[in-house]
Symmetry: none
Subunit: 226 residues, 2 copies
């Protein structure tokens, strides 16, 4: 499990990134200041560092130079300044990637994954997150509130199919064709049963739904819980 140190003074951003990356399986440690960040880099030897250049206590470029002086750890820089000169100077100072704010956490994660891939670490798989659900298609694991779910093959395929289309209603016919791969007159009853099983394993029932909602006469959809 790769570890990340994120150095960012804005608490909101720091906590958001920490939460999302943790959920995806990273070992995340947040630092609000350059000094704290450096200490964490030294003590935790992270696999990658996410660095905000606009820190209050030290110029980002200075910090980057110091980091480079002590370790080769990949550094992804995130900052509000996107001018060419800044980008070039930062990359030449040893940054591995440069992201201009505002950016989505998903893109940040993708870039972190890209630099990690180069360092020959065990890959973090691409995982969906829906509420407290984390679904990893490669490992074929699904976790609810950090607890591993025991899903049968069809249940897992079904969940992935729905997770790829969060918020969108899909018909049973469509599920029969895409998940069951039997477009002919197969009884669509199986779908109901599997949905029921999935609901039970997600800790909900048709009467009290959190993730799986049925739209009467149309189909079902996976939703972010309220």
């Amino acid at each position: 499990m790769p570890s990340v140190v994120i150095i960012e003074d804005d608490q909101r951003i720091r906590e958001l990134v920490t939460r999302v990356l943790s959920q995806k399986g990273y070992d995340v440690s947040g630092a609000p200041t350059a000094l704290d960040g450096l200490q964490r880099i030294v003590s935790e030897s992270p696999d990658v560092v996410v660095l905000d250049m606009g820190l209050p206590d030290l110029d980002g470029a200075e910090l980057l130079k110091m980091i480079r002086a002590i370790t080769d750890v990949p550094v992804v820089v995130a900052t509000a300044r996107g001018e060419d000169r800044d980008v070039i100077r930062t990359l030449d100072a040893g940054a591995d990637d440069y992201l201009v704010k505002p950016f989505s956490v998903e893109q940040l994660e993708a870039r972190v994954r890209a630099v990690l891939r180069r360092s020959a670490l065990p890959d973090v798989h691409r995982a969906f997150t829906v509420g407290d659900l984390v679904i990893d298609p490669d490992a074929r694991t699904a976790m609810l509130e950090m607890e591993l779910l025991e899903l049968s093959p069809k249940e897992f395929d079904l969940l992935v199919y729905l997770a790829e289309r969060v918020g969108v209603v899909v018909s049973k016919r469509q599920l029969m064709a895409e998940v069951w791969r039997q477009p002919y007159g197969g009884s669509e009853k199986s779908v109901d049963v599997h949905i029921s099983w999935l609901r039970k394993k997600l800790g909900e029932s048709a009467a009290e739904t959190r993730y799986i909602q049925t739209v009467h006469g149309v189909g079902i959809k996976l939703v972010e819980p309220a």
Copy 2:
């Protein structure tokens, strides 16, 4: 002198980039089409590839997949499409950096320099470590808790294949094709038997797994023990 292949259909951009990079001392080769680009990658083994995703003859994502299938060369993608979804998909497809047009040639060069710096890192002679398992593909040895394991050739190949993909489920079909190298109708039963033997030597059984988990209906995976 690092060599670069640039795959870009717009002649103006291609020549501009070629000229500037050449001036900076790179060995630059330009390709206007995906096909030409692939050929150059194969014949010239460049140190880095700059890829425009909007090629006329082949979807950029497809080309990237093909490049990744044949080589690990760093790829810097440059494209007009900057939406999150595109960026993430492209990075996950194996790109090392992603630049949105319009960009300055200077920034492109800085990014090329950044990925080159990274790939120039010395390759360590690497052994896999999974829990208390240490696997050295070069020496063809595997140790469990510091005890040398006596594995047959197939068992070892199988273990290495799984260790290269820790946490990822691989199908028997895939194993048949990649480890056995017999994609035809070879009975996949052999896989079961070898897995069973491997488990026994790893001190576990299907009922009580530590390293090798089977995912019913899908395949098996090697995992870090809890």
